[in-house]
Amino acid sequence: MLEIMKQRAKELLESGRVVRVLGWQRGDFPNLREPVFFTTAKQLDNLEYDRFCAANLSKYLIGTDVPTLAFLKPCDTYSLNQLVKERQINRQMTYIIGIGCEGSAKLTDMEENGTLERCLVCTKTVHAAFDELIGEDAAPREKNDRFAGVGEIEAMEIAARYTFWQDHLARCIRCNACRNICPVCHCKKCVFDNTKYDTAQRANASAFEEQMFHIIRAYHVAGRCTDCGECNRACPQAIPLHLLNRKLISDINHMFGEYQAGTDTETPGPLTNFDIEMDKEVGL
């Protein structure tokens, strides 16, 4: 599959259809893969694609104004659609080759440690946007429910839920990796970095600010988050951030009808939409 990708990329580069190719290359450590823009056929020899290429490349296409070829895994294409819907990516400037995905590897201190949790419960095995496909879509994962984690927490006692989140959030070092890796967190200056709300803060100076940062981060992407799981992968303290986003997705599905962000580039998200009849039952 890697050979076909390299050969196809070189053809498109030489034909001038694209000016650069977005893919991965081997890092300086055995299991590291870095996103990189290849511009010459020679560089394309370094192109890599295997279980360690977990990064969601769609965010690198924001604001691209030169024709760019990008290799996207199925879940990345939902982020692409969401970014196209929010006019951060000009779809004409991108040539998307959908590549099959067997699930990405989980790294613990650079050692492979099974498969990422997001891939074990992946429901987005079919590419949502592509100009070309290499390798067929993966077979749907054995169906363990991606909302199982959310259900467990919901079943807990309220005090237990509080301590569960308190312990996890207390470890947060506000490195903003979860915010900056998230494809739909593309504000020019985040609300925590600008003076529009007097909430600019560089660090969580109290337990409240820890809660506030994560509540608002999850809330701002509610209805836009495609559940790509990058926030959980990027967190150096392994805080289960994706559970917050999945709780919102599960609530949206229950209350406002099944919705998977990024399936297309038209329908407005649940929070910028309403349904008079259905919302009546939203018991508050």
Partner: protein
């Protein structure tokens, strides 16, 4: 440096009674930015406003906080006062320490503490106010009147006389409304048609007035000065230009048994019909549900006899969309249904009529040419009984809780009409209390009792039984405590009235609200009775509440005056508290555009959102949807509200 002046009002004893205003002044003077704080018994009085003006010039105030009554009462007053002293009116904030503090908390100590917190919040908000200047929006010099009754006609005539184009939209085939059904009107016993039809003809003939009958409002967009209204002209199946109103068609129409709405069902009408002789426009309408041609495809007699060839069975509904600057809602009333009032045997006996049905009977143009007869056997009745407050003043779910206001007077009128035509008929009225609140009203009622010998019995009817050819009434005379088992030939029920069926939906389309009885809610019951909450939408007639013709006409002219006052302006000052985006922070994601109810947000080439101040009404939905805080709302900015939360929680 911020120099804010705080003015704490006593409001006589309304505030001073429960809030220690001196303590409020003392504590608020320590808040940073407060240059001076003072208290005064009546801030809204001229002296109070003068105090503000002088303080602004004397201390060079950059902001004013008035701790007094609700901003909905006097915010405008204090803002004008500041404006006259040269301070931008949006640098004035109100702390509501009357309706939301002194009047609802008896304990002085805690009420004072709360008043200080509310004042502090207002100061915190003024700190972050920026001078705002109202924008301008254009005014379409045309008015729309919804409803073609006397209210709509009067309003339209007044507006047209002032030189502005008016469009009347009426659901029935002719204008005239309920008044056209009446025989005489109280208290002067003028013939209703004589005073109404000239106005109808004037309206029809006035070149500034366009009338759309058999039509309804389909869709409304826009706001004051720029309403875009789509009107659905339902298919009459008659070409209005060709038809001369000769009447050959309804003479030939084979369908004879359709109960006539205009005659309240006392007689029938044909499938192609005009509601009444003096109908304006005098063009018939084909009732497609009862017309044989539409039901079975056969017949078409009307088309064959129509010389001018005006009948057109293929005519379709037509939607016309027009712009208007102002709207008058004059949707009128209907009588309530009597299904839940079995005790009056209304459905058992044809001789039990509602007052409106009886009005048709006494009307010379009515089904009985004015002869008062028993519908059961056509004989002249020897005794007629009126029953008041049927369904009114009833707090069970059977009727309406309010008094319908006009029944006492029209009952007296109808009693006089009967005694005038047939002096020998004895007429009695069962009443709870006769309400005659108007000029010459009580004298009129006493004429009925004294001059025409109408018997008024203070008591109520318990039960009416239709026995053979007479009606047995079981009633009580409260004053004598006498039980009455009497017989009567005819019963007329003073039925409660309610807003017409279209009132709630029409109000909804103009985003103005209705109360629990579906009467349209006026902006202020005493001070702004003919304005709705929505700017540019005015109310007139029974749609706003039960009232008689003189009041309706007065409201119609008042509404017209308001409309004219608005249309005279070339430009309207728009609310400056609109949204605005910070180009550096906005990354053109488009979320705000989805939630704007007015479509005020566009994304031109410069790849950021831009707000059209004329369309934006300042609701703030886009500000909360914007994740980065790029979008903000003048007058209620994010920092202002955050500062208010900080100050109010201290």
């Amino acid at each position: 440096m911020e120099k804010i002046g705080v003015f704490v009002c006593h409001c006589g004893s309304n505030i001073k009674g429960n809030v220690d205003t001196a303590a409020v002044v003392e504590q608020i003077s320590h808040v940073d930015g407060v240059a001076m704080a003072v208290e005064y018994p009546y801030m809204c009085a001229e002296a109070g406003q003068a105090m503000i003006r002088n303080a602004i010039t004397e201390h060079g105030l950059t902001g004013v906080v008035v701790a007094a009554c609700s901003p909905r009462m006097h915010e405008a007053t204090f803002r004008k006062a500041a404006e006259r002293a040269g301070l931008n009116s949006y640098m004035v904030e109100i702390a509501n320490i009357r309706e939301q503090c002194s009047w609802v908390h008896r304990d002085t100590v805690s009420a004072t503490k709360k008043a200080v917190a509310l004042a502090r919040a207002a100061v915190a908000k003024v700190h972050r106010n920026t001078p705002l200047h109202p924008g301008e929006s254009s005014v379409t010099k045309r008015a729309l009147v919804v409803g073609g009754g006397i209210a709509g006609i009067q309003a339209a005539l007044d507006i047209a006389e002032a030189g502005f184009e008016v469009t009347i939209v009426e659901t029935t085939p002719s204008i005239g409304g309920k008044m056209a059904q009446l025989d005489k009107t109280f208290p002067t016993l003028d013939c209703s048609a004589c005073i109404l039809t000239p106005k109808m003809v004037d309206a029809a003939g006035h070149d500034n007035i366009a009338i759309h009958t058999y039509s309804e409002i389909e869709k409304v967009e826009g706001f004051v000065g720029n309403f875009t209204v789509s009107i659905r002209k339902k298919a009459r199946s008659v070409d209005m230009d060709k038809c001369t109103g000769c009447g050959d068609c309804w003479a030939k129409c084979p369908v004879k048994r359709v109960p006539s709405e205009f005659d309240s069902g006392l007689c029938n009408r044909t499938a192609i019909y005009t509601p009444f002789a003096q109908a304006v426009p005098n063009v018939p309408v084909i009732d497609r549900t009862n017309c044989v041609k539409f039901k079975t495809g056969r017949c078409g007699l009307c088309r064959t006899v129509c010389q001018p060839g005006a009948i057109d069975f293929d005519q379709q509904d037509e939607i016309i969309t027009e712009n208007f600057g102002a709207v008058v809602l004059a949707t009128g009333y209907d009588t309530i249904s009597l299904d839940k009032f079995g005790e009056y045997a209304y459905h058992d006996s044809p001789d039990v009529l509602t007052a409106l049905e009886f009005e048709r009977m006494t009307n010379a143009a009515g089904p009985t040419d004015g002869r008062i007869v028993r519908m059961s056997d056509g004989h002249k009745p020897k005794s007629i009984t009126f029953i008041q407050c049927v369904g009114s003043r009833d707090i069970t779910n059977r009727g309406k809780t309010y008094c319908s206001k006009i029944c006492c007077m029209y009952t007296a009128k109808q009693a006089i009409l009967i005694k005038d035509k047939y002096p020998d008929v004895d007429v009695q009225v069962f009443y709870i209390d006769v309400r005659t609140p108007g000029k010459n009203f009580d004298e009129f009622y006493r004429r009925a009792a004294e001059e025409y010998g109408v018997k008024y019995i203070k008591g109520q009817v318990g039960k009416v039984v239709n026995v053979g050819d007479t009606l047995h009434i079981q009633a009580v005379d409260m004053l004598e405590g006498r039980h009455m088992d009497i017989q009567t030939d005819m019963i007329i029920l003073a039925t409660a009235i309610q807003p017409s069926a279209t009132a709630k939906t029409t109000a909804g389309m103009f985003s103005s609200s209705v109360d629990q009885n579906h009467f349209m809610t006026e902006a202020h019951p005493k001070l702004r009775p003919v304005e709705s909450h929505t700017a540019g939408v005015f109310l007139a007639g029974c749609g706003q509440g039960p009232k008689d013709i003189p009041e309706t006409v007065a409201q119609a002219s008042a509404a017209a005056a308001k409309v004219i006052g608005l249309l005279v302006k070339d430009k309207l000052m728009t609310n400056p508290c609109t949204a605005a985006t910070d180009e550096d922070l906005c990354n053109n994601c488009g979320l705000c555009g989805n939630v704007c109810p007015y479509g005020a947000i566009t994304y031109e080439s410069k790849l950021t959102a831009s707000v059209n101040n004329a369309l934006c009404q300042g609701c703030g939905a886009c500000v909360v949807t914007c994740p980065s805080g790029a979008m903000d709302l003048h007058g209620f900015t994010n920092r202002q509200l955050m500062a208010e939360v900080d100050a109010i929680c201290k």
